[in-house]
């Protein structure tokens, strides 16, 4: 069992609480039938991927070492904002409805857009000079 840093845990809790509130609020505001494109989940996942790529690259390669920014913004906010389990259950329900094209399209689009978001955010941070 690794040693637990209380302030690190507190940072993850705060970031995760905020990310979850945003994701849950969006999901409640835009309900969709099982065979429609799950825009709320798709949007939070791609946005969270972009933000995570931006935050982590910047914190690791551009900014002075900080103990609590990554847990707050990365593990907490982006982790809480994005979700894997909801995406899998959405795919399962598409398969139930024999909406194979939608299931495959949604899975593929999420992975391609999520990966591209991380890649672009990383490239963007590395291209911009450090401004202090």
């Amino acid at each position: 069992m690794p040693r637990i840093d209380r302030r690190e845990v507190a940072a993850i809790f705060v970031g995760g609480a905020l990310g979850t509130l945003l994701r849950a609020g969006l999901a409640e505001a835009f309900p969709h039938p099982a065979t429609a494109w799950p825009w709320p989940t798709f949007a939070v996942n791609v946005v969270a991927a972009f933000l995570l790529g931006y935050f982590v690259t910047r914190l690791q390669e551009r900014l002075p070492l900080s103990s609590y920014r990554r847990p707050l913004l990365g593990t907490g906010l982006c982790g809480g904002l994005s979700t894997f389990s909801t995406m899998q259950v959405e795919i399962l329900k598409m398969i139930d409805a024999h909406a194979w094209d939608l299931a495959i399209g949604y899975a593929a689009a999420s992975v391609v857009a999520g990966f591209a978001a991380i890649y672009l955010a990383t490239a963007f941070v590395r291209r911009v000079r450090v401004l202090r």
């Binding site: 069992m1 690794p2 637990i4 845990v9 993850i12 809790f13 705060v14 970031g15 995760g16 609480a17 905020l18 990310g19 979850t20 509130l21 994701r23 849950a24 999901a27 409640e28 996942n45 969270a48 991927a49 933000l51 995570l52 790529g53 982590v56 847990p71 990365g74 593990t75 907490g76 982006c78 982790g79 809480g80 904002l81 994005s82 979700t83 894997f84 389990s85 909801t86 995406m87 899998q88 259950v89 795919i91 399962l92 398969i95 899975a107 999420s110 992975v111 999520g114 990966f115 978001a117 991380i118 890649y119 990383t122």
Partner: protein, 121 residues
């Protein structure tokens, strides 16, 4: 009641994120960090639980708290993609591809298994 419900979403979301951090760290320190097993374990176990909750056919508020808030914050899409990108960056293309395919296949299978259990509970 609505205020209380959203306060629950916030608190449970924070807690789910902390549980993910601890579980990821425990799995990674147990089996090594050559492959992102920690995130895989968190995501697949979360898919089983959310599948199970789906099978239980909970009411709206319970589903929001236990499913969207708790399991939703416990699992992560962003870290999964981040680790895939960093594997590709290190030219470990097979591991990067395996991370995507294994997560998706196990994730949907786990959700189906969980739901099967939930329906029979």
């Amino acid at each position: 009641m609505t205020m209380l419900l959203w306060a629950g979403v916030i608190l449970i979301g924070g807690a789910g994120s902390v549980v993910r951090f601890v579980a990821d760290g425990m799995v990674a320190s147990a089996v090594g960090r050559d492959f992102p097993f920690g995130t895989l374990a968190v995501n697949v176990s979360g898919a089983v639980i959310l599948g199970l909750l789906t099978g239980l056919a909970l009411g709206h508020d319970q589903a929001l708290l236990a499913g969207t808030a708790a399991v939703g914050s416990y699992t992560t899409f962003s870290t999964w993609m981040f680790e895939t990108d960093r594997l590709a960056e290190e030219r470990q293309y097979r591991k990067a591809a395996a991370n995507v395919i294994v997560s998706l296949v196990l994730g949907v299978a786990a959700a189906a298994l969980g739901r099967l259990i939930g329906v029979h509970l």
